[in-house]
């Protein structure tokens, strides 16, 4: 028989004002198995915990029930205290008499009655609790970073700096990501490439970092400390080890009509190409959709001209299996598709462009070599109108309900840069709100207005139409309460951003959750913002929510710190509340393995005594406690009840049901 101690917390007046804690503590003394019962103002306080510890020792308690706030708040606190007093922490249960009782009921009798029921229920459970021991699992001291943008690069560099090996898996042919496409960065206006490329080079040169470019994560198995990942290295038709990046192939390639994704499709590239000058790895790749040789079997010019003999048309996708202790997701973002916003005429007018396209038009390495020429007729635009919040804060269904966070700043940046470079240009910005929280951010925006004379119009554009070659931007000016029409030469849309869609697949592979906007969920929005709910998986950059470069870099470094903290451990403690199989009853039917999301169940043939001195061999399930997450799906699918869950056993729950129904 258990010796159970019950502690009723007042939580100041939070509980005591509605639940008669004295009456509860007194009544509970009569419960079979209860040898001690007390009430206290704040059980979670130092003194409260001491009371618990003393009682465990004095009364030789084998089980404890605390009637207090939600177990989600202080179960861990109390269990730690119990452990300090020598009681197995899993012999303690919390009855939630605050959130689920005192706070929602007004009548004292009613609330007291309910508190009694809830505590009796917890007692019923504790009677059947068994001491549980946390298991241990080893840690593979290597990290995986998915995504080679600035977030992934920063995380990888920081992890490598601490002495751990780290692999970057990047689906494109080069690392660098979106930041490589940007011209300047706010609020300092330094050149994006100038600050990014050194970091890219650091990655390439680090002996701890392995860059798997043009690769994708195909399969993830295992669990924190022990992930087993299958990576698909897509066929690039160029041997990475041989290619010297000389670009002769690009000069000779006859297929020159491919759209240059790096330049936002604003110009063309050859079928064999290196995405940009500072690409890492500086190795060519062949676009199989465009390559004449791959499509028709005829051509082979690049192979002929390649001095290094790097071209291999026979190349196939390869699979690499690696093991990791931690995974950082840094899959980044893309601008949303704005075809549905026909009021801005993006699809109809070449001179209505997105901000990212403008970045390329302004960039020295871009299609116009940094000279701002409008796409339609390659002339200098004289009047440029920016429209903000295109697709952001939009609940109409075409856009995104959230604020994309970076548009206000980059629009100010663009406006400023244009006025700086081409002072004769007239720049208008339609805005709903200008959001510039951040160090030196508002100053930056004000500089655009005050120093550079950018015309900010409070109001939104209702319509953009082409009239005699002019883009007529019709919008409202709410300050002057008038409708304005601005004949413009170029219209730039501050397009909303969204998570790179491949994140959905990654989230599924990692069994990490994702929100309705496809942003990955963090474990806690405030207190655990860089951890995903799946242990060992961390989030950096835009995949978790809109953010700018400094924030992305901070988050990436935070991720790295978390990863390092994990990888320095030799062993991890595992959750003891996991499934286990009673082999005497197991049928070996495989139903449990069918529903296990973690692949924690395997089968073995074992010999059992069947009476009469005979034995028989049966196939029985076996649970890997380090892989099992303790959801219990298997326990219900098991008809014989051989599968049970420690800490939430069928007997415990049934006896809770019995107690909770009693009144």
């Amino acid at each position: 028989m258990q010796r159970i101690g019950v502690f009723i917390c007042w939580c100041g007046s939070n509980i005591a004002a509605t639940v008669d804690v004295k009456r509860v503590a007194e009544a509970i003394k009569a419960e079979p198995g209860v040898v001690y019962s007390a009430d206290y103002q704040y059980m979670c306080s130092e003194n409260g915990q001491q009371l618990l510890k003393n009682a465990i020792k004095e009364h030789n308690l084998t089980g404890v029930v605390i009637g207090s706030c939600s177990p989600r708040m202080h179960e861990a606190t109390f269990r730690r205290a119990a452990a300090e007093a020598g009681l197995n922490p899993y012999m303690l249960e919390v009855a939630n008499i605050r959130e689920q009782c005192s706070w929602i009921h007004k009548d004292m009798d009613e609330a007291t009655e309910k508190a009694l029921i809830l505590i009796r229920t917890a007692i019923a459970k504790v009677r059947l609790n068994t001491p549980l021991q946390e298991g241990e699992s080893p840690v593979t001291k290597r990290a995986l970073v998915i995504g080679g943008g600035i977030a992934g690069i920063q995380a990888a560099l920081d992890i490598a700096e601490a002495g751990f090996e780290v692999d970057i898996v990047e689906k494109n042919a080069t690392i660098g990501g979106r930041m490589a496409q940007l011209d300047k960065t706010f609020p300092t206006l330094d050149c994006s490439a100038c600050i990014l490329t050194p970091k890219m080079v650091d990655c390439a040169q680090s002996d701890k970092i392995d860059i798997l470019s043009y690769s994708e994560v195909e399969e993830v198995k295992g669990f924190v400390g022990n992930f087993k990942v299958k990576i698909r290295k897509k066929a690039r038709y160029v041997d990475e080890k041989k290619c010297t990046g000389c670009k002769v192939c690009m000069e000779k390639c006859p297929s020159k009509k491919g759209l240059n994704e790096f330049n936002m499709n604003l110009n063309n590239r050859t079928a064999i190409y290196i995405p940009f000058a500072q690409a890492i790895p500086n190795v060519a790749v062949i676009d199989p959709e465009q390559c004449i040789k791959l499509k028709t079997g005829k051509c082979g010019i690049c192979q002929k001209f390649c001095g290094a003999g790097a071209i291999n048309y026979e190349m196939k996708d390869e699979f690499v299996d690696r093991e990791y202790g931690a995974i950082v997701v840094a899959t980044g973002f893309r601008p949303i598709n704005i075809d549905a916003f026909n009021e801005y005429g993006y699809s109809d007018n070449a001179d209505v462009i997105t901000s990212l396209e403008l970045e390329r038009l302004m960039n020295a390495a871009g299609p116009t070599n940094g000279v701002l020429l409008r796409p339609s007729d390659k002339t200098h635009p004289k009047v440029i109108t920016f429209i903000q919040c295109v697709g952001s804060r939009d609940v109409s269904g075409c856009g995104k309900p959230y604020c994309s966070k970076v548009c206000c700043m980059y629009t100010a940046k663009h406006a400023m840069l244009i006025r700086e470079k081409y002072p004769d240009t007239e720049v208008h910005v339609f805005y709903i709100d200008v959001r510039t929280p951040g160090k030196n951010y508002d100053e930056f925006y004000r500089r655009a207005v005050e120093q550079y004379g950018v015309d900010y119009i409070k109001g939104m554009v209702g319509k953009v139409y082409n009239e005699n070659g002019k883009l007529m931007v019709q919008g409202s000016n709410l300050i002057d309460n008038e409708q304005v029409i601005i004949p413009s030469d170029l219209v730039v849309l501050a397009t909303a951003i969204e998570p790179e869609p491949s994140v959905r697949k990654i989230a599924t592979l990692l069994t990490a959750s994702i929100d309705t906007n496809n942003f990955m969920n963090e474990s806690h929005p405030k207190l655990r913002p860089v951890e995903s709910p799946t242990a060992g998986v961390y989030l950096a950059g835009m995949c978790q929510g809109p953010k700018d470069i400094p924030e992305t870099v901070s988050q990436a470094s935070a991720c790295a710190a978390k990863v390092i903290g994990l990888l320095v451990k030799d062993k991890l403690k595992t959750n003891p509340c996991v499934a286990h199989c009673n082999e005497m009853m197991c049928n070996g039917c495989s139903q449990c393995a069918n529903v296990c999301a973690y692949g924690a169940i395997t089968y073995v043939d074992k010999e059992f005594r069947i009476g009469g001195g005979k034995t028989e061999v049966r196939r029985v399930a076996s649970v890997n406690p380090a892989v099992c997450q303790g959801c219990g799906a298997c326990t219900v699918t098991c008809p014989s009840g051989a599968m049970d869950l420690s800490g939430f056993s069928s007997k415990q729950i049934m006896s809770e049901v019995e107690a909770i129904c009693k009144r």
């Binding site: 009021e343 804060r393 109409s396 209702g462 019709q474 409202s476």
Partner: protein, 128 residues
């Protein structure tokens, strides 16, 4: 009827949540009748929110609105300024002992594809 009550009625008729407006002005940016509107579409929303029913009932914009629904179409927040305008108009006509067109008087030729709102508001407008 007092002002508050009338405000509530107008809000109810409009079927739109005026609080959803984020004051971007896109409705007014798109309005083809903008010049003839003494109260602009976006103002209808904010004025109704603030309960300025008298000004609304006495404006000419309710008779100049085309009920083209462009503002409804363009609103990023799902607010429907044209429905607010229609609500004001309806309240106005109701106050005149309901001299609008009865349902059975609507000619059968009227195509059912034409939005009801547009039809009804047009009849109301020209029955002033």
């Amino acid at each position: 009827m007092d002002k508050t009550e009338m405000t509530e009625i107008m809000k109810e008729i409009s079927g739109t949540d005026v609080r959803k407006c984020m004051k971007c002005g896109k409705c007014s940016g798109r309005c083809p009748a903008y010049k003839d509107m003494d109260i602009k579409p976006h103002q209808f929303v904010t004025m109704l929110e603030k309960g300025k029913v008298e000004e609304l009932l006495n404006c000419s914009a309710i008779w100049n609105c085309f009920s083209c629904m462009a503002c409804v179409e363009r609103c990023p927040r799902g607010v429907a300024p044209a429905q607010v305008i229609e609500a004001v108009r309806t309240t106005f006509t109701r106050a005149q002992n309901n001299n609008g067109l009865a349902a059975e008087d609507i000619p059968p030729i009227v195509d059912e594809l034409i939005p009801q709102q547009l039809l009804v508001s047009a009849y109301r407008k020209y029955n002033k």
